[in-house]
Subunit: 236 residues, 2 copies
DNA sequence: GCAAAAGTGTTCCGGATACACCCATGC
DNA sequence: GCATGGGTGTATCCGGAACACTTTTGC
């Protein structure tokens, strides 16, 4: 069998880039500038080039859409979506990636000026029977639902929550990430004891801050650990 | 943009089909009958047809290789692999799936007679510096490594271990699945108490068996639950 | 002083562990 | 009886949940 006999598909990557801002989990969406789904909101993404690794393609799209380098933030493969008819242009298989970043200004807003915006995940995924449910292009709603669940579950047993925090952060700021992503309050004293007791999660800087009011809080950086022992579990 | 302007790749599915037999975790491998990697062992798989869903393609390959229907066993997407050069025929992106099945005879051995065989995962993934490390075609060794880790971790918080068991099984047989997949012994009394206390995991049949010797053991079927509360955690 | 947020102490409880012990079969 | 594996009882330990309380700042 030679390769020219094989049926072939276009291969795309789509990115679900999350951040926490304004006390809500947000995802980065772009307004499509061309058909199909012209004008609709979509996950940023694009086609993979021949000779390009899937992850490299995701990193390239990330750079194009946000100006950020992939090695500056967390990125992982979510899964592939290839249902027939998911793209009216033909057979397109997309590989979805999840990326997490702190609440930074997006550098490209002054550069390539792609019309990318942060959208609240809660608002976006609220009941589809609402008066004006925001429609996403392609099957991006399903990808987003899967991506959100991936992020929520990964907070349980990995140090991923720190990817939402600035380089130096307090325990309370980390706690708010959990509360916002999971949509449930955490007991501050127990959370503090727990995360400061997980080896490798937090590296103390020695500095303190009062930016959140009240008694000065210790500032930490992300520690060397990638997994949580013990895990931080959702009660639900 | 029209679809004929897009660069295109062949899309394949590969299956890591696991079972537990002879006190070892085994994976189903086929001997390749054509180039590339003629004669080498590989995960069963094949190319996706246009208009075919990825999961359907995986189910079709499963049927072709084992004679089993996908709705008879557990199957889930593992991830996609698209590194340049991973297939010497050209640009091929593969979507890997993981499937789990009890230790059944493979129906096709009398039918299409594809040369599929069960291979011990431990032996296959043993140190690559061994005198005769079994080479797998393409990047199937990496896919297998990822698949094994997926299975191991999923046993912790899902009811997946029952997918390795026959339709009716004892608590001890379920325990042996955990011991074999994780490679660590479990305390029989505590394991028994734990799994019989997890709601929805086990449905008693009322029947007993002495097939494992000793006192008759209760026989169970898989219960309605998909997730374990509480989880069964590896100690390592 | 007062409010607010950080952080500590303490109690309670459920689940995990370790292991002694009993049960029901085949031989 | 004896061996074998199934299953129960029980004491202990550890981590999580709840919440009272102290600390340190801004105002």
């Amino acid at each position: 069998m030679t390769s020219r006999e094989l049926p072939k598909a276009a291969v795309a990557v789509d990115l679900a880039i999350f951040t926490v801002r304004d006390e809500r989990l947000h995802v980065l969406l772009v307004e499509r500038g061309k058909e199909p789904f012209l004008g609709a909101l979509a996950l940023p993404g694009g086609f993979v080039e021949p000779g390009e690794d899937l992850r490299s393609a995701a990193a390239r799209e990330l750079k194009e859409e946000t100006g950020l380098d992939a090695d500056e933030l967390y990125i992982e493969q979510l899964g592939s979506y290839g249902a027939p008819g998911r793209d009216p242009r033909g057979w397109v298989v997309t590989v979805a990636y999840v990326a997490l970043m702190p609440n930074l200004p997006l550098p490209t807003t002054g550069g390539d000026a792609i019309d990318a915006r942060w959208v609240s995940v809660d608002a976006l995924l609220a009941d589809p029977s609402s008066p004006t449910p925001t429609e996403l292009a392609f099957d991006h709603r399903q990808i987003l639902v899967d991506a959100v669940e991936r992020v929520r579950s990964k907070l349980e047993y990995t140090t991923l929550a720190t990817a939402f925090c600035p380089r130096e952060f307090t325990v309370a700021e980390l706690r708010r990430v959990y509360e916002i992503v999971w949509g449930q309050p955490m007991d501050p004293p127990n959370f503090h004891r727990k995360v400061t007791g997980i080896p490798g999660l937090l590296t103390p800087t020695g500095a303190t801050t009062t930016r959140d009011g009240g008694r000065p809080a210790q500032l930490y950086r992300q520690g060397p650990a990638n997994h949580l022992h013990p895990a931080i579990l959702r009660t639900s």
